[in-house]
């Protein structure tokens, strides 16, 4: 599953066609959802499947397919200095984080000690984190209204 996750991530960025990239992203998100299942967090996993695969990936796919024209397909090849810098930055980040992890004794923890179920998650959301939930609902509503207002088309066909 780690292979699916990382491979999908690479495909999403390196696929020639943007549609294949979107599908690769969906594969990577699916891999992360299965990792959540492996971590004994099925509620988060199902939430990830519903929101990411069900909403975000489909939204991206629809946007790519509906609006795709020449301008989308055209991708300026990055300057070679930029790609070299990107690869160096990525390798540096990965190596630094990996060695930092391997230097600790995190591999000692092989048993999933947490027994929290969706009941605990729900209790936490509806008690201590209730204000966060309210604010998050406002943020979601505001962002949806903002997205609609942004992409509105006037009768004349002008973009507003």
């Amino acid at each position: 599953m780690a292979v699916v996750t990382v491979g999908g991530a690479i495909v999403s960025l390196e696929a020639k066609e943007l549609v294949y990239g979107a599908i690769g992203l969906a594969g990577s998100l699916f891999g992360v959802a299965t990792l959540f299942f492996l971590l004994n967090a099925p509620y988060v996993a199902v939430f990830q499947l519903a929101v990411y695969i069900g909403a975000v990936a489909v939204l991206i796919l629809f946007t790519v397919m509906l609006v795709r024209q020449e301008g989308w397909a055209k991708e300026v090849r990055p300057k070679s200095t930029t790609s070299v810098a990107g690869v160096i930055a990525a390798v540096a980040v990965i190596l630094a984080l990996t060695f930092a992890v391997l230097a600790t004794d995190l591999s000692r923890y092989t048993v999933i000690a947490n027994t929290a179920t969706y009941v605990d998650v729900g209790r936490l959301i509806s008690t201590g984190y209730a204000p966060v939930l309210e604010v998050l609902a406002l943020v979601l509503a505001a962002s949806i209204v903002g997205a609609l207002a942004l992409s509105r088309v006037d009768r004349d066909g002008d973009a507003s």
Binding site: A9, A22, V51, Y52, G86, L106, A113, L136
Partner: protein
């Protein structure tokens, strides 16, 4: 694939790939993909640490709760970014971020 460090290393790989995408790509959709990958790396870390190292008692779900909020936030962010991309495409016929200079001072 069953110790905490494995999950953290996978998360580090995802994050590194996201950094690579952010540095090299000029297409707005690719940048969105890269940002989503990095958010997922962070979420994976939250859940992994929460499941292997519960805080105080074994039925603590703070990490899972935070990840639920994070997923919802990422969905809102993706919707706004897609709207901006569609508008930018209408205005410029292009979604190359280095061409978007309208707001440049």
């Amino acid at each position: 694939m069953n110790s905490l460090s494995d999950f953290v290393v996978v998360s580090a790989l995802l994050f590194g790939i996201g950094v690579y995408g952010l540095v090299t790509k000029r297409n707005a959709m690719r940048l969105l993909f890269a940002v989503e990958l990095m958010i997922n790396a962070a979420n994976l870390n939250f859940v992994a640490f929460n499941q292997y190292l519960p805080y105080q008692e074994a039925s603590n779900a703070v990490g899972q709760t935070v990840v639920l909020f994070s997923i919802a936030l990422a969905a809102a962010e993706a919707a706004v970014i897609l709207a901006i991309v569609v508008v930018a495409y209408r205005l410029h016929n292009d979604i190359d971020v280095s061409e978007m200079k309208t707001l440049e001072g």
